[in-house]
């Protein structure tokens, strides 16, 4: 607690010292003085001091050190908000912008993690004032400020549901919108300079910083947000701001989306940059933000081709928001392409291989059902757009690589549909009806583990394969036309069915034994229970037949084993039916 005379002495000393002679101790003293005033609730007095005409020399040289304490005071929302705000405003108009900038950047760096959004919301308007006053290093400072602010904001969780967004508990939405507002004067200035063809290298630097801000924002928070054009939420509005800013700073969306990947410069190719552009593609093509000013001359196949890079990036993520956006972009890009249009040469492109593989992983591994369902729809849409040869190649690829009965059965079902389609007049093709079909059929009628195939695990796939076989045999006329094809087909069929019968017999034997053992064990347990109930003696031991230790209750185990046996019956009956048809066809002359 300093007495007034002592304080006045110090103040007088400051007043008498020219700026260049002021030492760090002086600055620290001044800062302490200010902080003390605030802690003691004397913000009014501090404001008076700062606004005092006679003290302007000190304020001008040393005032900036008070920014931190003043801002923190405002953030803590303790009494005297107005005085502090007025004090800050005065400082931003009086002190050197460069020094102020320095202290503000330090402030951002040292933000209290519990008060990130409050501090940023307090700071941003004043930051803007300071930045607008800078001369030659404005662009660099804008860049530093935006980077620092976004770094702090990335520590806040992005709201994902409508309720979360409306509540905006952590203030993230408010902050981003405040940032968007704060950069507007810089954009306007750039627009004016462009119009007058008056741009300098400093302007170019500013443009770059603003672009970086937009790209960072696309990735964080927008890629994680749930954006929906029917619900123009806070983050939707922020997204729109970004989309509008880009053309305002002369950044063409078509250049960004389509032509930077083709240029393949190292700067634009890293995964973060791809994620930003993926979000951009999503906002444009799926959410239709600023689509009306996007050129309507590109071919849908080209748009798909470019977007595949972004879809690939998004589908490699495990984040639900990224996945849903990737799937939506994929679906949207496919919808503009006419059916049966995509040529086989496209499948040679890396992204056209990678995306379906990633999609497959989503279908088999993603724990979220709605994502898997969405994924399956998109897979079918993709298949529908491939031309006949491409479908053939794709089916073969998936059968070879998926190692998953569910996916394989889906492909086999599609194969059957294609065979049916090809049999219609005018649709004949070698890929599903001629010699080429055999290479695909060979992969369908194939049991990779031979006699040890787990029939239950592969049930879906096997049933679909048998259905396909049955269909081909009934509608055999088309396939019989090409010489050699039918013979080879029958050979494949015979080998497959032979192997399948072996598998069924082995499996049936095993499961029957298991079921019998289970029943025996149940009988034994029941008998022992009755005996125990009758006698007072404790049962010493329960003999247990050899069984795999299972967590399932005996009733459930029983059900499982029974249904397994039923499955084998089903498969066998289909095989029998196939053989019946074969017999019938042999009787009919060609």
């Amino acid at each position: 607690m300093m007495n007034e005379d002592h304080v006045n002495d110090i103040i007088q000393r400051w007043l008498d010292t020219p700026e260049e002679d002021l030492k760090p101790e002086n600055y620290q003293q001044f800062k302490d003085f200010g902080s003390a005033c605030l802690t003691e609730g004397d913000s009014a007095q501090l404001l008076k001091f700062l606004q005092d005409e006679k003290k302007q020399g000190i304020v001008k040289s040393m005032g900036y050190v008070l920014m931190a304490p003043l801002v923190n005071e405002v953030v803590q929302k303790e009494k005297s908000l107005d005085h502090c705000q007025a004090a800050i405003t005065h400082l931003t108009r009086t002190c050197s912008p460069n020094k102020l900038m320095h202290s503000l950047l330090e402030l951002i760096e040292d933000i209290d993690p519990g008060a990130i959004s409050e501090t940023i919301l307090t700071l941003v308007p004043h930051l803007q004032t300071v930045l607008l006053q800078l001369d030659d290093n404005k662009a660099a400072c804008v860049g530093l400020a935006l980077t620092a602010l976004q770094k702090q904001l990335s520590r806040l969780p992005v709201p994902y549901t409508q309720q979360q967004e409306e509540a905006d508990e952590y203030g993230l939405c408010r902050c981003y919108n405040a940032l968007a507002v704060s950069i507007k004067p810089f954009i306007e200035e750039m627009k004016r300079k462009n119009e007058n063809c008056n741009t300098t290298s400093e302007d170019e630097e500013l443009r770059t910083e603003l672009l970086k801000f937009c790209m960072r924002s696309l990735r964080e928070p927008l890629l994680e947000a749930d954006l929906n054009r029917d619900r123009k939420s806070s983050l939707w509005l922020f997204a729109t701001e970004i989309m509008v800013t880009l053309p305002a700073i002369q950044e063409s969306l078509s250049e960004l989306l389509f032509f930077s990947t083709l240029k393949k410069s190292t700067q634009t190719d890293n995964s973060q940059s791809k994620e930003s552009r993926a979000c951009l593609a999503y906002l444009l093509f799926v959410q239709l933000i600023t689509i009306d000013s996007f050129p309507a001359v590109f071919s849908p196949v080209f748009v798909l081709q470019c977007n595949m890079e972004y879809i690939d990036q998004l589908l490699t993520s495990k984040n639900e928001s990224y996945l849903l956006k990737g799937l939506a972009l994929y679906a949207k890009s496919l919808e503009s392409v006419q059916d049966n249009r995509l040529p086989v040469s496209l499948l040679e492109l890396k992204s056209f291989y990678s995306v379906p593989q990633n999609l497959r992983h989503v279908l088999t591994d993603c724990p979220m059902q709605h994502v898997r369902e969405s994924g399956l729809q998109v897979l079918q849409l993709f298949i529908n757009k491939l031309d006949v040869e491409a479908k053939h190649k794709f089916f073969r690829c998936m059968l070879k690589t998926s190692n998953h009965a569910g996916v394989e059965s889906y492909i086999v079902k599609n194969t059957r549909n294609q065979v049916e389609f090809s049999m219609k007049p005018g649709n004949a093709n070698e890929w599903f009806l001629g010699e080429e079909f055999l290479s695909l059929l060979g992969l369908v009628l194939y049991l990779p583990q031979g006699a040890e195939t787990d029939l239950l695990n592969s049930m879906d796939r096997i049933m679909e394969s048998l259905n396909l076989l049955r269909y081909i045999l009934i509608r055999d006329r088309e396939l019989r036309r090409t010489t050699g094809v039918w013979e080879e087909l029958c050979r494949l069929k015979d080998e497959y069915l032979k192997m399948l019968r072996v598998c069924i017999s082995i499996s049936r034997g095993y499961y029957s034994a298991e079921l019998k053992a289970l029943r025996e064990d149940q009988k034994l347990k029941a008998k022992e229970a009755r005996d125990a109930a009758r006698s007072t003696r404790l049962v010493k031991s329960i003999t247990v037949q050899h069984q795999k230790v299972s967590n399932m209750s005996p009733q459930v185990q029983h059900q499982v084993l029974q249904s397994a046996l039923v499955t084998f019956d089903l498969m066998e009956s289909l095989i029998v039916r196939i053989e019946e048809i074969t017999e019938e066809k042999l009787k009919i002359p060609n």
Partner: protein
């Protein structure tokens, strides 16, 4: 390029209708040994463009052979002599169409074609202002242009022309590599025929634009014919 064009024009104009004689009899044609391709070649060489179009005999011989039955070809052969719709019996506008068709066919032979020749070009071009006639873009080269796209009813669905002349100085025209399928086919085909400075009006059929699907998000309905006014600013 223009020299070639003139050559083709003159030759088809000077070919007289009664120079074409019937070489084969029906029995010869029907014979299993007589290849379809020979009939097709003959008809393509001698029939008028409209005749070929009518009988679906335009385009790559291999493809025509795949889709046309021998009986149909024999009928067409006979029809040709009956109707006398030989080359050189058509007015000049149709000849220009033939020239375009020939040019397109030549191009597709050069590049390994993914797209099968389907017949006459599905766009028309009227030159509003001539270009320098020397700087034509080649396939794969960059082309920059200003354009305005309208629907048949006059609705402007897209343009990159800024509202004021002053803004035009600070705006960049649309730039892309032509002939690679990056833009709608009508554009790819048309721009290859335009030289630097040329302004043309293109009317593109839906098959070479956005087809049955259209581009609803950009206000292009299904099966829309598109009209573009295009100015070629720069070639590579």
């Amino acid at each position: 390029m223009y020299a070639q064009e003139d050559q083709i024009q003159t030759s088809s104009l000077t070919k007289m209708a009664d120079e074409v004689t019937r070489e084969w009899s029906d029995e010869q044609l029907k014979s299993d040994d007589f290849p379809k391709k020979d009939i097709i070649t003959f008809i393509q060489d001698n029939a008028a463009h409209s005749f070929l179009n009518e009988h679906k005999l335009l385009g790559n011989i291999k493809n025509v052979a795949k889709t046309a039955k021998k009986e149909q070809l024999i009928i067409a052969y006979n029809q040709l002599f009956e109707s006398k719709k030989f080359k050189g019996t058509e007015p000049i506008e149709d000849v220009t169409e033939q020239v375009k068709a020939v040019k397109i066919e030549v191009k597709s032979k050069e590049a390994p074609a993914e797209v099968v020749d389907e017949g006459p070009p599905k766009y028309t071009k009227s030159v509003l202002k001539k270009g320098d006639k020397t700087n034509f873009p080649k396939k794969g080269e960059n082309v920059s242009c200003w354009y305005t796209g309208t629907l048949e009813d006059g609705t402007v669905f897209d343009t990159n022309v800024p509202k004021t002349e002053r803004k035009k100085k600070q705006t960049k025209p649309l730039t892309f590599k032509v002939g690679l399928g990056r833009v709608i086919r009508g554009w790819d085909e048309a721009l290859l025929t335009m030289s630097k400075g040329e302004i043309a009006r293109l009317e593109i059929e839906p098959e070479w634009a956005y087809g049955r699907k259209g581009l609803p998000d950009s206000k292009i309905p299904p099966n829309a014919k598109l009209i573009f006014e295009v100015e070629v600013v720069a070639v590579d």
